[in-house]
């Protein structure tokens, strides 16, 4: 929900009830409110976080290197591609549309980068620029075809999934693989932040978050508008700071030779910082700007948006362009990780994993509801399951089955929540 002051949380409702009716009344209201929000899908990312905790606990119990710093670092690198694509997918889903072409745009951008830098000897940065621009242009083209010509986005991007894979094969030519040995490009997925920078970033992020929340609450109070209680703000900021600092400490090797975290000291992977940066930026864009507001509006009621004077076509084209842009960024990360552009990657699977991540993270398939953070959370769920199953020695067969089951579960939750909202008159 794009709102500066969301509805009171279940906890706040309970606190009010407790003041009126005592502790028992408070507890009753808390349970009732939580249950109602769970049923109508308004608990936000809480269910995903719970699921993630269960998954981590399960794999840690089965295989005690799962939560080691080295494996967590691996996990971050593994979700870079899916997470980045999923950010774009969230934007498209918020519009109430779908983009099936992102996997093919990703491998095409990878092939273009390799071809430009290795085959044609361009500088690495021009290779990146061309790959990213082509990705955005493809997205804009598909968005225009959908928004102006009126062909459903499902069909336009399905054609894209096939077509751009063909273009990728054409670019890669007969050999099918171009090895990319370029230190700048491979740094995207193989470098780590120096420990000091990791600490500076973590402290700055936690501090900025706390300050902005406090400042906002203070401004609202000065304007005599309902504001989040200081207690809630402080607890939230403390949680964010704890997660940021703990993650940095683990990855920087502060708990070296601890029985859980092991002997890893490499630091925060750059790819993780890129993904987190993209998530934070697009979360801000969608919830705090006019452009983001219009994405939600078009996804909620396109006709109402049009009548309010919003250029619905432009918003649609821009969102598909962003989806293509983010898929191309994912292509850069993929190229760096493999040190190659290759025919071996299945774009259909990449696409579906990204869509699965967005939906598992809590973004609705039906448009207008969700958050960019669900891209990160969903990618973490899928990545953790894949990583954990690898560790306990399961093959791709089991991984696919488990992933399928999780996706079905997530979409079912979405559909049931939608029905719950309809029953509560909150479609």
């Amino acid at each position: 929900m794009a709102a500066a002051a969301p509805e009171p949380s279940a906890l706040e409702e309970a606190a009010q009830a407790a003041r009126r009716e005592g502790l028992a009344g408070g507890a009753r209201i808390f349970v009732a409110t939580t249950w109602q929000r769970l049923r109508t899908g308004e608990l936000g990312s809480l269910p995903v976080l719970v699921a993630l905790a269960i998954i981590w606990a399960y794999f840690q119990a089965k295989q005690d290197v799962f939560l080691s710093a080295r494996n967590l670092s691996n996990l971050i690198l593994q979700i870079g591609v899916t997470g980045t694509i999923a950010v774009g997918i969230v934007l498209v889903l918020l519009l109430g549309e779908i983009d099936l072409s992102v996997g093919s745009i990703m491998i095409l951008s990878s092939a273009l980068l390799a071809s430009a830098v290795i085959t044609h000897g361009w500088a690495w940065y021009w290779g990146i620029v061309i790959a990213v621009l082509v990705g955005a242009a493809i997205g804009a083209f598909q968005g225009a075809w959908f928004a102006i010509v009126g062909v459903p986005s499902f069909v336009v991007t399905l054609a894209g999934l096939l077509g751009w894979q063909g273009v990728q094969q054409h670019v890669l030519g007969a050999t099918g693989t171009i090895n990319v040995f370029d230190s700048h490009i491979s740094a995207i997925a193989t470098s780590y932040l120096p420990h000091v920078w990791g600490w500076i970033l973590a402290i700055a992020a936690a501090g900025l978050y706390a300050l902005s929340r406090l400042w906002e609450a203070a401004r609202r109070r000065r304007a005599r508008l309902p504001a989040a209680p200081v207690f809630t703000v402080v607890v939230g900021a403390a949680l964010v700071a704890a997660v940021a600092l703990l993650a940095t400490a683990i990855l920087n090797g502060q708990f070296k030779n601890h029985w859980i975290f092991g002997d890893y000291t490499a630091g925060i992977p750059t790819a993780g910082v890129i993904l987190l940066g993209l998530v934070i930026f697009f979360a801000w864009l969608t919830t705090r700007t006019r452009f983001g507001r219009y994405i939600f509006a078009v996804g909620g009621n396109a006709e109402a948006a049009r009548r309010a004077g919003i250029n619905v076509r432009l918003i649609r084209i821009a969102v598909f362009a962003l989806s293509g842009f983010l898929a191309a960024i994912a292509g850069l990360i993929q190229t760096a990780r493999l040190a190659a552009a290759s025919l071996a990657i299945n774009p259909g699977q990449v696409t579906l994993e990204a869509i699965a991540a967005a939906v598992i993270g809590g973004t609705s398939l039906f448009g207008g509801r969700g958050s960019v953070w669900s891209a990160l959370l969903g990618a973490l769920v899928i990545g953790s399951v894949a990583n954990g199953l690898d560790l306990i020695g399961q093959g791709p067969d089991v991984k696919l089955m488990v992933e399928g089951a999780i996706l079905l579960l997530a979409v079912t939750v979405d559909a049931v929540a939608r029905r719950g909202r309809a029953a509560a008159g909150r479609v």
Partner: protein
């Protein structure tokens, strides 16, 4: 008034905010409006009534800029104007609330009230000024005495039908509008919620707006309307002053039992 004769209400001594003179509209061979006159004064509620196909929708869509008339003139505050598009109508201060309300259910009350006119830097990517929008929304709702909405940060989906209608109407009148056209504002509402909306309509009149209400509910017409204009088969067949008429006369005019003297 006696016999079959109905008397056009004497025109008050003021200038109408909006006046249509001899407006006609064809759709192919169908004559939707035949030389219809229509006028709204400041601080009055006009009920536009008529059977299905009488031309009510065509008339309000002409006012709203969705349809272009084939003939006739439109005067706004005494000056001739052309309303080529909904944007033209908005610029003049004419707002229309259609039956579907055009709300985004996933957005909160503030976001809906400011949809398309957010307080933000003009470049489109600067942050929204949520604080000023929230204050203004609260002010507008309070000014119109819409008090049942607990938080303006709740998604519109969770509001009752009457509250949703109130949000849509408040949004329509918060931009210095002079006329607001309401298309069946109470059609889907229960008794208590209908009362809410009718009270809101009366407050719009107190604030000096011209209100045009399309409705099928004669009882409601008599509760809020100052004047009642009856359309039948694309023509204006009768005009009643609320104080001087009975529901039977209005129903008779709608059914075509009596014709207004030409």
């Amino acid at each position: 008034m006696e016999g079959g004769e109905q008397i056009a209400a004497p025109l008050p001594q003021r200038t109408p905010i909006l006046e249509l003179k001899g407006v006609s509209k064809h759709f192919g061979a169908v004559e939707a409006l035949r030389e219809v006159d229509f006028e709204v004064y400041p601080a009055e509620v006009v009920a536009l009534v008529g059977d299905n196909g009488a031309g009510k929708s065509t008339l309000i869509k002409t006012i709203a800029g969705t349809h272009q008339p084939d003939g006739g003139t439109i005067l706004f505050e005494g000056n001739e104007v052309k309303i080529h598009s909904p944007a033209d109508a908005t610029r003049l201060g004419v707002e229309t609330v259609y039956q579907d309300l055009a709300l985004c259910d996933n957005l909160d009350v503030v976001a809906n009230m400011f949809l398309g006119r957010e307080n933000a830097p003009p470049n489109g990517v600067g942050p929204l000024d949520e604080l000023s929008m929230e204050k203004r929304s609260l002010g507008v709702l309070q000014g119109l005495n819409v008090t049942t909405i607990r938080s303006v940060r709740t998604p519109v989906a969770s509001l009752s039908g009457g509250q949703r209608q109130s949000v849509a109407i408040s949004r329509a009148v918060m931009w210095n509008s002079k006329i607001v056209v309401l298309d069946e504002p109470t059609a889907a509402l229960g008794v208590a919620q209908t009362e809410q909306v009718l009270a809101l309509i009366k407050r719009l009149r107190e604030q000096g707006l011209g209100v045009v209400v399309i409705t099928h509910n004669i009882q409601e017409v008599f509760e809020v309307a100052d004047r009642i204009i009856v359309l039948r088969l694309g023509r204006r067949v009768a005009t009643f002053e609320h104080a001087e008429t009975t529901p039977e006369q209005v129903v008779g005019a709608i059914m075509g039992a009596r014709q207004e003297a030409a």
